[in-house]
């Protein structure tokens, strides 16, 4: 009994400690003075995290859009409302699936890579040798990765939504024969720039922030061993995905509730 209470206390203290460490890391990453050299490092990370994630985003978006189109068509045709397929596909993608699925893929593709990279740097003591050379690893390693990820993910989400809507239109218009004028004009009548596109962008920016933060924290504070790195990588993907889904619910309440 006493043991259990002790454990509870220990857990909560270590939770607060971890939160504090993550917060300190975040603040030092956020308030890095941008220089030209630093901008180059960010650009490299946009390449690593964004451009290299592009194939999986494009392929996943295409398939998700086509599945949405097909399933939506099969339901809507029963009500003679197949013209509304465009609305259904566009709204579900812009509001929910675009940001969320991109975030989940991003957590799996880029978040895990970030954690493993930073964790291995720590395990091989590259981070401590940087400190010996009076280079702050938070500024040299963490900050560019943070900003690179936060910049790259919303762009990926836009591309995901666009490709998926195109996939839905391919299935709906070209295969199932919905009138293309109706498909697009009904969609245009019901999609709103602020309510759908801007809010979707806000969602994906928040998700990017959370994913990159979780990934970098887990890498930076990983146990410096091969088992520790694998554990940290797993934790990144699991925690980031769960946080994204939970945050999505909360954001949706505020935006559309």
């Amino acid at each position: 009994m006493i043991d259990a209470i002790q454990q509870l206390g220990q857990r909560s203290i270590s939770f607060v400690l971890r939160l504090g460490a993550a917060g300190t890391m975040l603040i030092s990453a956020l308030f890095t003075k941008p220089t030209l050299k630093w901008a180059r490092l960010v650009l490299l990370q946009v390449y690593q995290l964004g451009v290299l994630s592009l194939p999986i985003i494009v392929v996943a978006g295409l398939f998700i859009g086509m599945v949405l189109g097909l399933q939506g068509y099969n339901v809507l045709i029963n009500y003679g409302a197949e013209q509304s397929l465009g609305t259904m596909v566009a709204l579900s993608l812009l509001r929910e699936l675009g940001p969320v699925v991109t975030a989940l893929l991003f957590a799996g593709r880029a978040g895990s890579a970030l954690t493993a990279e930073v964790g291995l740097m720590k395990a091989t003591e590259q981070l401590s040798s940087m400190e010996m050379m009076a280079v702050d690893p938070l500024k040299r390693i963490i900050a560019p990765r943070f900003w690179g990820g936060v910049l790259a993910m919303p762009m990926l989400a836009f591309m995901f939504s666009l490709i998926a809507i195109w996939g839905g239109s391919v299935v709906g218009v070209n295969w199932k024969g919905i009138d293309s004028g109706g498909f697009w004009s009904v969609m245009q009548a019901s999609v709103d720039v602020k309510l759908d596109i801007v809010y979707g962008f806000i969602k994906s920016a928040v998700f990017a922030f959370v994913i990159v933060w979780v990934a970098l924290y887990n890498g930076y504070y990983a146990k410096p061993s091969s088992a520790g790195i694998s554990e940290a990588t797993t934790r990144t993907v699991v925690n980031a995905s769960l946080l994204v889904l939970a945050l999505d619910f909360i954001l949706t309440i505020f935006m559309y509730g």
Partner: protein, 158 residues
């Protein structure tokens, strides 16, 4: 990979994402920059607006000539007060015009149909802020069924 190639790839990435955003805004949301060519507001009082919503279209012969901007309740008469944002490029309508709430199809969205009235020497055109009183409310299906049943009962008695 050399730095130049990376810069080129990132440049393409940013261009592609900007293009995606523009396409989403233009093609999916149907946003056009030349839309706001000036507009004026009209008020309309209905008895019942049914399922009318903000941003529902106002149509004249099928052409969208405006949109519902706000729906409030007139506290004095307890009737809905609808604010309409009419596009100036379609001009002004005589004060004898009437509005009715119609439904697109059997189960579709509701919109406001505008029927322009006759123009005579002493008829003025509706200007910004004027109110249209000649309105027809939305058809409420339950009321219709009630009336139908009532008339059937009457017939049964005879």
């Amino acid at each position: 990979m050399s730095e130049k190639k990376i810069h080129f790839a990132v440049g393409c990435f940013i261009l592609a994402s900007c293009l995606a955003l523009v396409l989403l805004v233009m093609q999916v949301a149907g946003f056009s920059f030349s839309r706001d060519q000036g507009s004026y507001t009209l008020l309309a009082k209905f008895d019942n607006i049914g399922g009318l919503k903000v941003r529902s279209p106002v149509k004249l012969g099928g052409v969208v000539v405006g949109r519902v901007e706000a729906i409030t309740l007139d506290p004095d008469s307890y009737t809905p007060l609808v604010t309409l944002k009419m596009e100036q490029k379609y001009g002004y309508y005589p004060e004898t015009s009437s509005l009715s709430i119609l439904t697109a199809g059997l189960l579709g969205e509701q919109f406001i149909g505008l029927r322009p009235g006759f123009i005579d020497e002493d008829i003025e055109l509706l200007a910004d802020g004027d109110t249209i009183y000649d309105t027809k409310s939305a058809l409420v299906l339950e009321d219709l069924i009630g009336q139908f049943l009532f008339s059937m009962q009457d017939k049964g008695k005879e």
